[in-house]
Amino acid sequence: MMPAAVMNGLMYGSIYALVALGLTLIYGVLHIINFAHGALLMLALYAAFFLYSILGIDPYLGILIVVPGSFIFGYVLYRFMIGKLAHGKDQNILLITLGLSIVFENMAMLFFSADQRTVNLSYSFETVDLGFVLLSIPKLISFFASLVICFLLWMLMSMTDLGKAIRAVAKERQGARLVGIDVDKIFAATYGIGIACLGAAGCLLLPIFYVDPYTGNLFVIIAFTIVVLGGMGSIVGALIGGFIIGITESVGGLILGESLGQIGISVIFILILMFRPNGLFGGKT
């Protein structure tokens, strides 16, 4: 039982990491807590779902459509709403993104109804025998795909001009502006990349999970826990944090039972916030 729980935790952990990556990136550059993260993940799940149910596009292929779409959505959302309306105050952004999440969730409720939806792919129930544990094919694909996407994001951040500009803005806003970087555009682009991570996570999550208007809520605390665990703004931290939380959740469920098992995440979150608010791997805030 235990190895199976650990493997299962790893699989989900990689997707949690992807969700948290978007959050930590946005925090690291914009210094805002994106409370709409869960709701935007829910929208990405619906996007992947409708691509499959209406156009018959496999969710894993859907990444090619949902990720660019999410980037544009995030870019526009920041450029024309969040950035404009918040007047640069931290708590305003928290409340505006809270307002957005209420709007998105209930619009999904209005248009898509409260039904839980899942997809059944031709290979949904196929498994691989690793000797000590059976793993489903979709989980394996999701696991490796999210690792690849994390790697691509790391490449984007460290190798490209855009990545350099983002890191420059994260380090020193005024300085970046002085050397000719359009800081407002970089903010919007960062938010867009963060939401694009959610787009990918949505496509990878759909085949092994379900979607309804409130799915996003399940991931809000998980993502925040990973981000504070790994250190706000740290990409590597988010990845390791994702695995730790994924394993904690599935092992906790095994030991404490399904209902009480969820408590592990809240407890870790509270303890980390109290004792190491900069995270296990984070530097100074």
């Binding site: 807590i33 404009k84 918040a86 007047h87 409340l95 605390i221 009480l260 916030l273």
Partner: protein, 308 residues
């Protein structure tokens, strides 16, 4: 004062229970909003998990009544105490470590989630099945035969909450909270015991929330973890306060009135689940963007201009 008299005689004119129920919910939310206002509006500490006091209080008096037969008129004091103790624990845990702003908002959310999971997993709360309460109208049980009784009870709660806020605005303690909101380091430097003041504020919030829990359980007769620790209620108490005006005596009441009336009208126009919350979300965004002092700030601004 005139409004209060109107509120007292109103049920004599309105025989329709529907309107009295809407008013009761308006007062109930305004009361919870005021509890949030003390910590969020005056002391500047935004909590996203305000429901934890409400839920804990609701369970405290309900379990005392259903399991031990202690009537809610005494149980409500235990509920207040339970809420205040939760406030003490959460406040001490987070303020002692200097958590502020968004971090504090998130840790309160996590505490509320933790309590929800615990309530869902243990026996004495009835677990996921929840607890059904009996309807035995009497003043000892804080239950009433008609809507009018609950209306007056909720009106009384709102009046008490407004008196607390008025006292706060005039007291030294209130001034200390405002000083903390404006600049915590400066407040500390002036010799204000910041930790103690913030913990006291969250305990007042907790006690008020606990009493609201008893009221809710006695009126709606059912309690389960998703209701007791509902994220939606946490959001609603901050919403009415921000819309009405944070750090003002009448802000939560004004916000609660406006939001509920908008909701009721929207419900009449379009019958659909979720619509009222979409409206809530938009109003929240617009208020934050254009009216940072809420509706009360708008009135004040207008009358101020007229004065000149």
């Amino acid at each position: 004062m005139g409004l209060l008299v109107l509120a007292i005689v109103l049920p004599l004119a309105i025989q329709n229970n529907f309107y009295l129920d809407v008013l009761t919910i308006i007062f109930f939310t305004a009361y919870l909003g005021q509890s949030w206002n003390i910590l969020g509006g005056y002391a500047g500490q935004f909590s996203f998990g305000g429901v934890m006091f409400f839920g804990t209080g609701a369970y405290a008096s309900t379990i005392l009544w259903t399991t031990y037969g202690i009537p809610p008129i005494y149980g409500v004091f235990v509920a207040i105490l339970a809420g205040a103790i939760v406030g003490l624990i959460v406040g001490y845990a987070s303020f002692r470590y200097g958590l502020r702003g968004s971090y504090f908002a998130l840790i309160t959310l996590a505490f509320a989630e933790m309590l929800r999971i615990i309530a869902n997993s243990v026996e004495f709360t009835g677990g996921g099945v929840g607890i059904f309460l009996n309807f035995e109208p009497s003043i000892m049980n804080l239950q009433f035969i008609n809507a009018r009784g609950f209306y007056y009870l909720s009106l009384g709660m709102v009046v008490i909450s407004i008196i607390i806020a008025m006292w706060l605005e005039r007291s030294r303690f209130g001034a200390q909270l405002i000083a903390i909101r404006e600049n915590e380091d400066a407040a500390e430097a002036l010799g204000i015991n910041v930790l103690r003041s913030k913990i006291l504020a969250i305990m007042i919030m907790g006690g008020m929330g606990g009493a609201a829990g008893t009221f809710y359980a006695q009126k709606y007769l059912y309690l389960d973890p998703p209701i007791a620790y509902s994220i939606a209620l946490s959001v609603e108490m901050l919403l009415v306060t921000i819309v009405g005006g944070m750090g003002t005596v009448f802000g939560p009441l004004v916000g609660s009135f406006v939001l509920h009336i908008v909701t009721e009208v929207a419900k009449h126009l379009i019958e659909s689940p979720g619509l009222s919350l979409i409206v809530y979300g938009f109003i929240l965004i617009l208020i934050i963007a254009y009216l940072p002092n809420g509706l009360i700030g708008l009135f004040k601004g207008l009358s101020g201009k007229r004065g000149k």
